[in-house]
């Protein structure tokens, strides 16, 4: 039955099928062609008319962005309505000539031209782009009279963001800026790009970024009839937008101002927290920057200035700067010693002024030593030897295990994007941190300086303040938060943010009292006594000094001989009043030398203001809370410009 086939016949048969296939293709394309002729020639008029009528366009109605105020209603970020002159490049034949002609009616700086060029490169062809923002009334009138000369140029009323206090709290509030292609990708990924139709700005840093979802609001839509040029002629229906929510911060801007002014020209960070609630009262970072620069695209000169500054004004120090805590670490070491049973409060050591481990001599600050030192005294005089010995007795594993619950080396969970984790050293951490096997091992000698907050220890000022607040709050851990209420603009209803404790640490009142007592003595007779002299409230604290460069054995630290940026950092942590704490702070002054000299006085100013309402002499006039009504959202008046934006058809 097997029949061998003849290849020649097969090929001929195949070619016949090819011809059939070819004819089939021709027939199908013939059908298509007939369809095209039918649509494009015979029915052309019908479809042409349909396309002409097909001009109901849906325009987005951009929502008003929520305001940001401090806890007393002082406005930190607001909107205002202003006119912009906008060009749609795709509708303009000669852009250069148009801009030149426009400059006869409206002032156009070379800076404006440059920015416009940059915007064009970043935008879609059919976008309407601002050549000038914030026109004066006179300029609006002048252009309106000559508008007919300019096709593709329009005056638009837009809302602008403004940060009226400038640099103050800029690291907290952050800023918005124009939506970048990267932002678009992010929005698409989240599937919320539709809500950003028509929006031009998005939160880039700080709370503006973290709370973008709350602040932005819901975009509305307007069905409009458009003319042949795509310009809106008549509104057919409107689905209004709903404004973004307002943020009411836990920040007290007056306290923030005191903190920032107290740091002044020095680099550093100040964090103040209400220990009971976790409310962040002040969150200062110096040097700072003016967030208003970023809104419409920062110009190159300003950007270079900020970005290349060795003092790094754009670094949010309390959130992202990490520092060895120095002696401010000691109270936490002490409480860990008590909870793990490695020490009793009354166990004393005799301090010769140094500690020998192996063949290495670890120095104490005080030559000759502090004599007999128990736990309370170890805190008040900041005895290094006590903690060298303690660290060795506890061992690195116990240290890291018992300090982790205080939040060291982990995120505090503050409502601000980009928090740094810091480093709570442990053998496991070292194993992960280093690549080479020789460096991965934990050496027992490295444990010694961990006890005085040096070595690999590295924490953010926020972490130190957070741990201090926990210490003040009897071991109840509260999540630090900058936003106290989220307010619905329409109903005025304020919804408080979460205030439930994160966890409670297993410490007893007796154990805490030992630490608190030691810290109280610091401010009464110890290292910070001179700073807190005459304070009418009780307080507890600890000074600290953290080394920027390692000192050789037996080498004596001489501030004058060391370049400014290698000088020690000054730190202070503390809370007040001692028994019913209302404020806990961490202060760090970079290259500030001893903690008692540079950092503690800042804490004193904060305590004085928060507890007594007393302002430092250098700052006589407080920031005025907003007048009632002043903070109200300036509703963008769309009816204001119909004759400019639209050709009204009645």
């Amino acid at each position: 039955m097997t029949e061998l086939r003849n290849p020649q016949i097969e090929i001929r048969r195949f070619r016949v099928r090819l011809v059939v296939a070819g004819l089939f293709v021709l027939a199908c394309f013939g059908v298509l062609l007939a369809r095209f002729v039918f649509l494009q020639v015979i029915q052309y008029e019908t479809y042409q008319a349909a396309a002409e009528e097909n001009r109901i366009s849906v325009l987005p109605v951009v929502p008003n962005r929520g305001l940001i105020t401090d806890r007393n209603g002082v406005v930190l970020a607001r909107n205002y309505s202003a006119y912009t002159l906008e060009i749609t490049p795709s509708k303009v034949k000669d852009l250069e000539a148009t801009i030149n002609a426009l400059s006869a009616f409206v002032e156009i700086q070379p800076r404006d031209r440059k920015r416009f060029k940059k915007l064009m490169d970043e935008s879609k062809n059919f976008d309407s782009l601002p050549i000038r923002t914030r026109l004066t009334d006179e300029e609006v009138a002048r252009f309106a009279a000559n508008r007919w000369k300019f096709k593709g140029v329009d005056i638009k009323a837009r809302l602008f963001r403004q940060y009226p206090l400038g640099e103050l709290a800029a690291n907290v509030v952050g800023y918005i800026a124009r939506i970048s292609p990267k932002d678009v990708e992010m929005l698409e990924e989240k599937g919320i790009e539709a809500n950003y139709k028509g929006s031009e700005h998005i939160g880039k840093t700080g709370l503006e970024k973290t709370y973008e979802k709350e602040l932005h609001g819901q975009t509305g839509f307007e069905r409009v009839e458009v003319d042949a040029g795509g310009r809106a002629v008549r509104t057919l229906a409107r689905e209004p937008s709903s404004s973004g929510n307002n943020l009411i911060l836990s920040l007290d801007i007056r306290l923030q101002e005191i903190a920032e002014k107290a740091l002044g020209d020095r680099k550093g960070a100040v964090v103040a927290i209400d220990p009971k609630t976790g409310d962040v009262l002040a969150f200062a970072s110096r040097p700072g920057f003016d967030p208003n620069l970023f809104i419409d695209g920062i110009d190159q000169a300003n950007w270079d200035l900020l970005n290349n500054d060795p003092d790094r004004p754009l670094l949010n120090r309390p959130l992202r700067g990490t520092y060895p805590p120095g002696s401010t670490f000691k109270p936490f070491m002490a409480i860990a010693a008590l909870t793990t049973g490695k020490r009793t409060p009354y166990q004393s050591i005799s301090d010769p002024g140094f500690f020998v481990y192996g063949n290495h001599r670890f120095r104490d600050d005080k030559v000759g030593g502090h004599g007999s030192v128990d736990m309370v005294k170890s805190i008040s005089v900041s005895c290094d030897t006590y903690y060298y010995q303690l660290a060795v007795d506890m061992g690195i594993e116990t240290i890291s295990r018992s300090l982790a619950p205080w939040g060291f080396g982990s995120l505090t969970g503050i409502d601000l994007d980009g928090e740094a984790e810091g480093v709570l050293p442990s053998p496991a951490w070292k194993q992960k941190r280093f690549k080479k096997a020789a460096q991965q091992r934990w050496f027992p000698g490295e444990t010694v300086s961990i006890g005085i907050g040096q070595g690999y220890n590295s924490y953010t000022p926020l972490q130190i303040a957070h741990a201090t607040a926990t210490l003040a709050n009897n071991g109840v851990v509260m999540r630090p938060k900058l936003v106290k209420y989220i307010q619905n603009v329409r109903t005025g209803q304020r919804v408080p943010t979460d205030t439930t404790p994160v966890r409670t640490l297993p410490v007893t009142a007796e154990q805490l009292e030992v630490i608190h007592r030691g810290m109280q003595l610091v401010n009464l007779e110890g290292t910070a006594a001179s700073v807190f002299r005459g304070a009418p409230y009780t307080s507890a604290g600890k000074t600290g000094t953290s080394q920027v460069i390692a000192m050789k054995q037996n080498e004596v630290y001489d501030e004058k001989k060391i370049a400014q940026r290698f000088r020690d950092h000054a730190l202070y942590m503390g809370f007040a009043p001692k028994d019913e704490p209302r404020i806990a702070v961490a202060v760090i002054v970079e290259n500030g030398g001893f903690g008692s000299r540079s950092a503690a006085p800042i804490a004193r100013q904060l305590f004085d203001f928060h507890l007594l309402g007393k302002r430092p002499d250098s700052l006589p006039t407080p920031i005025k809370p907003a007048e009632p009504g002043e903070e109200n959202e300036p509703e963008l008046d769309r009816e204001l410009v119909p004759e400019l934006e639209k050709e009204a058809v009645r």
Binding site: T2, E3, L4, R5, E10, I11, R13, F14, R15, R17, L18, A21, G22, V25, L26, C28, F29, V31, L32, L33, R35, F36, V37, L39, Q40, V41, Q43, Y44, T46, Y47, Q48, A50, A51, N54, R55, S57, S90, K124, N125, F126, P181, V226, A228, G230
Partner: protein, 364 residues
């Protein structure tokens, strides 16, 4: 030195079929022109497509260097892998937009794309093996080889791709010489089973067919695509509205205007004249493909070249038919014009195979 340059030049070009290259380049150019207009709001798409084209040309060049004999050795493995992946999709695929089409094998892929090439390869290989003693039941086996992946893809559901794969396989069987009588019987059988198929369709698929029959029944929903793209085509008239001046496209009335509906933008801006140009170019492409098939040395090469050519035709026909409202909406790109890397690479793979067959016609 000059010799070296010449050698390099010939290494670069000796495997290329100039006719195909010119036609494809012209189509790509038209594609970029219309994409520039269609992607006015997402300009990076234009640059992305340039990158896609570069990648696709690389694939084409490599493929054109692979002799058909070597290619035939890959037929079975690729088919087996493809079917295995399709089964994997059915068992633990990733669901997106209500369809289970993707599977994660280190990276997320859509195995039905592989079948577009694997199917004709496999069947051409099979018939080639049986060349000397081809019998009736061989066609039955071929049909079975075809039916399994098609059923798996249709189940995902992805009717568009299922039809394309079915088409690809059917073309091979057709060229292999299935008798006219059987084909007629199959056609009648298919027509008769339509009510049955209708019952098995998903709701959205039925809706698409219904909207095709009467788009006005749902002008703001499913019919919107067809109505708007038909208006775009019709309002283009004889000469079109001009590049960048398509109102339907730029006022956002055309859905998917970068990808599956790019022909609507083309049609609106360049009119009947543009459409005829496009039809002529596709005809030239198909003609060249069929010519290559007719001169191919082995049964495998003949069947493969014929099938690939007709697949390209199917893409073009189905897409233009869908946009102009005579075929239901299925996700089929317009060859060389639609935005999208995967589709372009698949098409260029096909063109590369055609070139390889064209070049190796004398080697038996």
């Amino acid at each position: 030195m000059k010799d070296k340059a010449l050698q390099f030049w010939s290494l670069l070009t000796d495997s290329l079929d100039w006719w195909l290259l010119i036609i494809v380049s012209m189509l790509l150019t038209l594609g970029l022109v219309v994409l520039y207009s269609a992607a006015y709001d997402i300009q990076h798409r234009f640059n992305d497509q340039l990158r896609n084209i570069v990648v696709a040309f690389g694939v084409l060049w490599v493929t054109s260097k692979v002799p058909p004999q070597l290619l035939s050795r890959f037929a079975v493995p690729i088919y087996v892998i493809g079917v295995t992946l399709l089964i994997a999709v059915a068992l633990f695929g990733i669901v997106k937009k209500g369809a289970r089409r993707w599977v994660n094998v280190g990276l997320v892929i859509q195995p039905s794309e592989i079948m577009k090439i694997a199917m004709p390869l496999m069947l051409a290989w099979y018939f080639h093996q049986r060349e000397m003693f081809l019998r009736f039941y061989d066609y039955a086996i071929a049909l079975a080889l075809l039916a399994v992946p098609v059923a798996l893809i249709a189940r995902q559901p992805d009717l568009g791709t299922a039809i394309l794969v079915l088409g690809a396989g059917s073309y091979v069987i057709f060229f292999a010489g299935l008798s006219w009588k059987v084909m007629l019987a199959l056609a009648v059988g298919t027509a008769a089973s339509m009510p049955l198929v209708w019952g098995m369709l998903h709701d959205y698929q039925r809706e698409r067919v219904l909207t095709l029959l009467d788009p006005a029944s749902d002008p703001l929903g499913k019919g919107f695509h067809i109505i708007q793209s038909t208006i775009a085509v019709g309002s283009g008239g004889i000469t079109g509205k001009g590049w960048l001046h398509g109102t339907q496209a730029h006022l956002e009335f055309i859905p998917e205007r970068h990808t599956d509906f790019i022909f609507a933008v083309w049609s609106e801006e360049f009119g009947l004249a543009g459409n005829v140009l496009l039809l002529v170019l596709y005809l030239a492409l198909i003609g060249r493909g069929l010519f290559i098939a007719s001169g191919a040395p082995t049964l495998f090469a003949r069947l493969l070249a014929g099938a690939i050519t007709l697949i390209l035709f199917t893409y073009a026909f189905v897409n233009m038919g869908m946009v102009s409202g005579i075929l239901p909406v299925v996700g089929v790109p317009l060859p060389m014009l639609s935005y999208g890397g995967t589709a372009l690479v698949t098409q260029f793979l096909g063109i590369g195979i055609l070139m390889s067959i064209s070049r190796h016609k004398k080697v038996v």
